[in-house]
Subunit: 344 residues, 2 copies
């Protein structure tokens, strides 16, 4: 492999606000060679995720920030092309954390690393509905949101990778699902593809008024991927004992310093509401349970998903900017090279 | 009884901010007569509570606001002087909701109505450590805060009726208890009377810096009676899985409109924290459990309390203003007439 080139996208500058192409550089290096215990993975798909903003910020977050000059961190799916790892062989497909590059070494210990069976589900779903997105929806809604049949569940970024699964799982629990999404195309997806009982275009509507109309019995669970003004609009409409699942803060470009907004403590007190953060990695021990449930619903045709696939490694920085601009419909992926398991 | 006068304090105007004597009027009426199923109660003690601000606000709250011209709502302890209620007899002492007046009718169905045994504990404690204050501390800390031995529990209004019990119960669970109180007298009470491991004068200190010093292992539970800037200072110091018990919002004078502050969702997400409101009336079915535990700790000398008693019905409005000004040390009560069960 040593003659091949490893294209890489590295962090050039931390964003002051939302990241875009200016924050990254393209470089080329040699393809690395695995040492004992490692395998060399050739990247097929990369996952473009809202969390990436946090990974390249210097503010306190879940994990160490990507260093300046370092390869951009990214979940991805790839094929083993060379292996000195006893459990991995050339031709195996894996989900891991290759970063934005053609080739990466893996010792199989990254968070969420697993081997994939391309006959069971398309490889790309390991980055979406059968991956962290679906698991986040599953555990976030069921464990933290704890919806009961008949309750009303509101979801922000309702047509996205996490949100679309939340809305459908809420309906599977017998709940009324109300989605918030940006623009008519996503609102139509919510209603037609994902089965929401109601969907609101937060860019066009008075969100608070539209929610009052769409949630005549009040709001019991808010699964929040955005925070910001949408959270503010939901706050006053909680039923007693409401649960707010804090899953993401995509609406806020920068937390350094934290922006200001209406204080929340009175609304939480009056409704005896519970506002709780979720990070899917905390549920690692229960991934098999979640994946089995999600796979079952997909096989039954009760859980659908959409992918928005951009082609070429070089498309990644613009795809990331487009994610924060709300330009994607469905789970946003970059296909670095053709998927050998797909004929189309 | 019909010749006696019933002095009453009624709501004259809703406060624009914190309530004070200008919001109330003194009137005199006839002492009412009980109909079948009612008893006439002569007020002995009134409880002056932070929640009163909400009871006279027109903003959405737990309960219907006190109407203009209506007797100010208040918990109190009194003596039955006339009864047409089968379970109540003259000479009985009861805890109920008499309002700011000399005489009130009761049918025994008010929230928290119960008969008191003056031989078991001083009557006034039914309005404090053996009443809603103690129960709020007990269920709020143990059920919502769920502290584990070795964790750090921070309490705001740490020397008050609720806070002082929270700090002591936290220590009984094997936790490090850190109190926030206003002024050197209350800080001394925290350390000397209530056993806090550390106490901070939030009026004098850089609260965030003082907390970092007093909580070297971070904050696991924040029992918050104030909200506002103290909550903001605590937010960045949470350990993973921290719990915030939202019990009161005394720091905010008016919620109409809600004041602005730093947005909270990122801190909650990063720490996977849980922020949850508590209202003690939700625990009514479990009061006996809580009262038994509190009474046991008091009898063992492991749970102390302080009372700050003001004399005369006419002292109530100024006492309420003083509560929000932080002028009380210990549970604030108004003694409407001498307590016949106390000899001193």
């Amino acid at each position: 492999m040593s003659a091949a080139i490893n294209r890489q996208i590295v962090l050039k500058a931390r964003p002051n606000g939302l990241p875009g192409p200016d924050n990254f550089d393209f470089v080329e290096g040699e393809v690395p060679s695995p040492v004992p215990g490692q395998a060399l993975i050739r990247t097929l798909y990369l996952s473009i995720d809202p969390a990436m903003k946090g990974w390249i910020s210097s503010a306190r977050g879940y994990s160490e920030p990507v260093p300046l000059g370092g390869v951009m961190r990214s979940l991805g799916v790839g094929e083993v092309v060379e292996s000195r790892h006893e459990a991995l062989a050339p031709g195996d497909f894996v989900c891991g954390m290759p970063g934005w590059q053609d080739y990466a070494l893996s010792d199989g210990t990254e968070p969420f690393f697993r081997k994939l069976d391309p006959a069971a589900a398309p490889l790309s779903t390991a980055l979406g509905v059968l991956g962290l997105n679906g698991l986040t929806a599953y555990f976030g809604l069921l464990d933290v949101g704890a919806p009961a049949a008949g309750e009303t569940v509101v979801v922000s970024t309702a047509a996205g990778g996490v949100g679309s699964a939340v809305g459908q799982i809420a309906r599977l629990q017998g709940c009324r699902a109300v989605g918030l999404a940006g623009g008519p195309a996503k609102v139509a997806l919510c209603r037609e593809a994902f089965g929401y009982d109601a969907a609101i275009d937060y860019k066009a509507a008075d969100v608070a008024a539209a929610l009052r109309s769409a949630c005549p019995d009040g709001i019991d669970v808010f699964f929040d991927n955005t925070g910001g003004p949408i959270l503010d609009a939901v706050l006053g409409q909680f039923n007693l004992g409401a649960r707010i699942v804090v899953c993401g803060t995509a609406a806020t470009a920068s937390w350094d310093p934290p922006p200001r907004g209406p204080r929340v403590e009175r609304a939480i007190l009056v409704a005896r509401a519970r506002m709780q953060g979720i990070l899917i990695f905390d549920y690692a021990a229960r991934y098999p349970e979640g994946l089995a449930a999600l796979a079952g619903w997909i096989a039954d045709g009760r859980l659908g998903y959409r992918e928005d696939i951009r082609d070429g490694l070089e498309a990644a920085p613009a795809a990331l900017a487009d994610l924060y601009a709300g330009g994607n419909t469905g789970k946003l992926l970059v296909r670095v090279r053709p998927d050998p398991t797909r004929t189309s």
